[in-house]
């Protein structure tokens, strides 16, 4: 029997999250009581369920099985995955399974990969829930069996369970979970349970339809945008046009004169117009005039910052990885290769612009949001409201995308909403803060801009003997709750994917020069690997070419000691027909591989480049190893979506600043991938008995370099600046 360990994030990431979690717990000191053992099963408060053996499961008298999800559903399929794992060990009927979001309660619902804080990120939902939810389901099953055995006066060992029904073959008796629930609720919760042999899985590894799909097809799914409470008002916030600017003064008169505007209030982040409708709030904000103090604001342009980054790459920096003596190896090499890569700021641009509803009184703060960082948000909301964290409750709703944006240490959009409710009067009036798309594109917390400089040396046998990689850019974790994770000048999220390079190279130097400016930055889907994997995989391709070797074979030969990475590389190459001979003129094939959050992904991209240089990505073949595949179709969907997300970014997306002002406003100037630009995609999943790891992010990383390498194969031209040049765009 497999008894996997719950930990599954990459080592730097895991350590960071654990430490960060502890720091958070200390900082927020949330006081919730454990249900200490020995304990009896109890019905959850306010629930019609009769059997709730633990914090994750409720069984109703009608046989309904409600799984309590501690992770937000933002598209990644976490609700369905969580329910699959618990329902598997419970032997529930999938048709009876539903999911409910957990309340904010770090004691019960901490992300075990984060330590003691509740939240979703780092592709950790399934990895950290795996053992916990299997045990929760198995305990429920054991108690339902015990209830049947007690009622029928037969040994438990004579009973079987299938699809939510307990059977006793000898007496031909059967009972559905619902009929056994109240008796089971009176039984003690067992301390130990035996988990299933994976060979006996009926749901895990099979096709459980996503539980959220029907409501997302008929328009009934509830997002924060859809929250409508009696007397609710809508607020739009006017924020400074430059990062770091503040309100000097404002004139509320024109805004107040707009019909439907109720109040204009100043808050730390700007001036809010509170109105009876979105349209009134929008017109009010358009009419509002604010004078800004920009004496401390960022006024540089991104082109100027990138120039500074290029110069910094020539100076000594902090060491993120040192193996042997790379400088000496490159100096004495018979052949050297050098390249640099430039990465822009990127906005997350989830389809649902940020929004939160807050109902604030003198003693309570109730929040509705597609909340990704419950414990942090609870603490920040409490601080903004002048309350204790336990006075803050959070209703986590479906998030209309996030890609990391809704998980930030300042809880920006939550704090704004609470601040507005407080300035409004904290009288219990529900207020919905709504961001517009322009607010989102201008709003900061971008994936940082980076400059990468790489050098490699080959010996006379064309073997790679030295690798030097310098990264220049802002730190995501410096200056906030996660500052403790920055050690010896290294923010692990700036270098992961580069400092964890898998290729066997005898001499490696990875260095980081951390820059400071007032543009707020944040993790963006697949975090550090969103740029490091591009740099490593584009450069290793250049090195393979310099060595006169096939780019697939060159990588494979350097991965003999990394069997899982090698296996995805080989599978992707095989399924793509890598060795089936050259592509026709104007077409090219490129390959890339990476590991993120302990999930291994390789992709082969096929591109066409027309005689004007315009690039079309025709086909992508993807191989993934994420341990035991829980929901194969969700894994495939996450790879497809990750490829589309990553492809749009490398081909089109950039946030640029001119004299401190963001030059993009909406989807016309911040270009993302559209239907006509989506390639055909095939996903192949490696069968595995390893503990499950995440799939929400890792598919994003290899697509950029795979396409860049394919463009080289088709044209002989390398891509060194992202996004791709306009001349490549169709």
């Amino acid at each position: 029997m497999i008894r996997p360990s719950p930990a599954a994030a990459s080592s730097t990431r895991r350590d960071f999250l654990k430490t960060a979690g502890s720091a958070t717990a200390v900082a927020l000191t949330i006081g919730f009581e454990w249900l200490g053992p020995p304990r009896r099963a109890m019905a959850a408060v306010g629930s019609p369920a009769v059997f709730a053996p633990n914090a994750f499961l409720r069984v109703g008298a009608d046989g309904s099985v409600t799984v309590i999800a501690k992770h937000v559903e933002m598209g990644q399929g976490a609700h369905t995955g969580i329910a699959t794992v618990l329902a598997e060990e419970l032997d529930a009927d999938w048709k009876q399974v539903r999911v409910e979001s957990a309340p904010a309660n770090a004691k019960l619902y901490a992300n075990l990969a984060f330590g003691t804080m509740q939240g979703t990120g780092g592709s950790s939902a399934m990895a950290n829930s795996w053992s916990q939810l299997r045990e929760a389901g198995a305990k429920g099953r054991a108690m339902l069996l015990a209830a049947a055995a007690q009622e029928w006066k037969v040994p438990v060992s004579d009973l079987t369970v299938d699809k939510g029904v307990v059977y006793h073959a000898g007496s031909k008796r059967q009972a559905a979970f619902g009929a056994l629930a109240s008796r089971a609720a009176a039984l003690p919760v067992p301390d130990n349970v035996t988990l299933k042999d994976p060979q006996d899985f009926k749901l895990i590894g099979h096709q459980c339809p996503r539980l959220d799909v029907p409501s997302k097809v008929d328009g009934s799914a509830q997002f924060t945008l859809d929250v409508a409470l009696p007397g609710m008002l809508v607020a739009l916030l006017k924020r400074p046009p430059l990062f770091g600017a503040t309100v000097k003064s404002f004139d509320p008169n024109a805004a107040s004169a707009v019909p439907g505007v109720v109040k204009v209030v100043q808050v730390p982040r700007g001036v809010a117009v509170v109105a009876k409708s979105f349209w009134a709030a929008k017109q009010g904000r358009d009419a509002l005039s604010v004078d800004w103090d920009d004496s401390h604001a960022e006024k540089r342009s991104t082109s100027q910052m990138m120039n500074e980054y290029r110069q910094l790459a020539e100076r000594p920096a902090a060491s993120a990885l040192k193996v042997g003596d790379a400088a000496a190896a490159i100096k004495s090499a018979t052949h050297t290769v050098a390249a640099s890569y430039e990465f822009p700021y990127l906005a997350h641009a989830p389809m649902e612009p940020l929004d939160a509803v807050v109902k604030l009184t003198a003693g309570s703060c109730e929040i509705w949001a597609g909340d990704q960082f419950q414990t942090v948000d609870q603490g920040n909301a409490a601080k903004a409201a002048g309350l204790e964290p336990q006075q803050v409750s959070i209703h986590t709703l479906f998030a209309g995308g996030s890609f990391g944006r809704r998980a930030n240490v300042g809880s920006d959009y939550i704090v704004e909403a609470v601040s507005i409710a407080k300035a409004y009067g904290a009288d219990g009036t529900p207020i919905k803060l709504q961001w517009t798309r322009e607010d989102d594109i201008h709003g900061g917390l971008y994936r940082p801009m980076y400059f990468h400089k790489l050098e490699a040396g080959l010996n006379e046998r064309k073997e790679l003997v030295g690798w030097r990689h310098v990264i220049v850019g802002q730190s995501i974790m410096a200056g906030g709750l996660f500052e403790v994770m920055v050690k010896d000048g290294i923010d692990p999220t700036s270098v992961e994917g580069a400092s964890t390079i898998a290729y066997k190279i005898p001499n490696i130097d990875v260095e980081l020069s951390t820059t400071k400016n007032a543009v707020p930055v944040l993790w963006w889907r697949v975090v550090g690997s969103s740029h490091t994997t591009f740099a490593v995989e584009a450069f290793i391709d250049e090195v393979a070419h310099a060595a006169g070797k096939d780019p697939f074979a060159f990588r494979r030969d350097l991965l003999e000691h990394e069997p899982r990475m090698k296996a995805v590389l080989e599978l992707a190459a095989d399924k793509a027909g890598w060795n089936n001979g050259p592509m026709p003129k104007g077409k090219g094939r490129g390959i890339a591989v990476g590991e993120a959050f302990k999930t291994f992904v390789a992709q082969v991209a096929e591109v066409s480049v027309d005689d004007r240089g315009r690039v079309t990505v025709d086909r992508v073949v993807c191989a993934v190893d994420c341990g035991i595949p829980i929901n194969p179709d969700v894994i495939a969907a996450q790879m497809e979506g990750g490829i589309g997300f990553g492809l749009g970014a490398v081909m089109y997306s950039a946030i640029t600043l001119q004299d401190g002002r963001v030059e993009q406003d909406n989807f016309n100037s911040y270009r993302v991938l559209r239907m006509n630009e989506m390639p055909k995609i095939e996903v192949h999943i490696i069968p595995s008995g390893e503990a499950p790891t995440g799939v929400g992010e890792p598919g994003v990383a290899p697509i950029g370099p795979a396409v860049a390498n394919a463009i080289f194969a088709a044209t002989g031209t390398r891509v060194h600046v992202l996004p791709f040049p306009k001349s490549n765009q169709v």
Binding site: M351, G401, E640
Partner: protein, 153 residues
């Protein structure tokens, strides 16, 4: 000021600023929440509804422009094409975050109502105005083809 039109087959009079975008009239005045706000500039398609059977971006259409017309939202879809699209969306497990999908379903339904067997190029033409940040595009394409086939069968 009020505007009268047919909303999902029901005669409706909304008392609102005639310049208010149809999107917000549908959402905040009529109280139908399936139609989503994504960009406010007809750039993403999340707000797509049908006006007199044609897909339009309700975020830039003033309420006054639909006076006397038939407006259909995701809540009011009835046609066999709409049902086929929704069934195919479930069969092929299209949605991820789901926020753009009302708009995707509305655009796909309008496509099939005017073109029984769209080609890939037809799908590109009809659907490229609907952004999906989860990039569910391969499944949307497959689901439109599947819906077309199911209607034909």
């Amino acid at each position: 000021m009020s505007t009268s039109f047919e909303l999902n087959g029901v005669s409706t009079t909304l008392d609102a600023d005639p310049a208010m975008p149809l999107l917000w009239a549908i959402r905040e005045v009529a109280g139908l929440h399936g139609t989503k706000f994504g960009c406010g500039m007809a750039l993403c398609g999340a707000c797509t509804v049908h006006v007199s059977g044609k897909p339009v971006r309700s975020c830039v259409m003033p309420l006054s422009a639909v006076a006397g017309k038939q407006v259909t939202t995701i809540e009011g879809l009835q046609s066999k094409q709409a049902k086929a699209v929704q069934e195919a969306w479930i069969l092929l497990q299209v949605p991820q975050c789901g926020y753009c999908q009302s708009g995707q379903v509305m655009s796909a339904t309008a496509l099939l109502e005017s073109n029984a067997e769209p080609t890939d190029a037809d799908i590109d033409g009809a659907m490229s105005g609907n952004i999906c940040r989860c990039a569910t595009y391969t499944r949307i394409r497959a689901a439109i083809h599947a819906a077309a086939q199911s209607i034909k069968a």
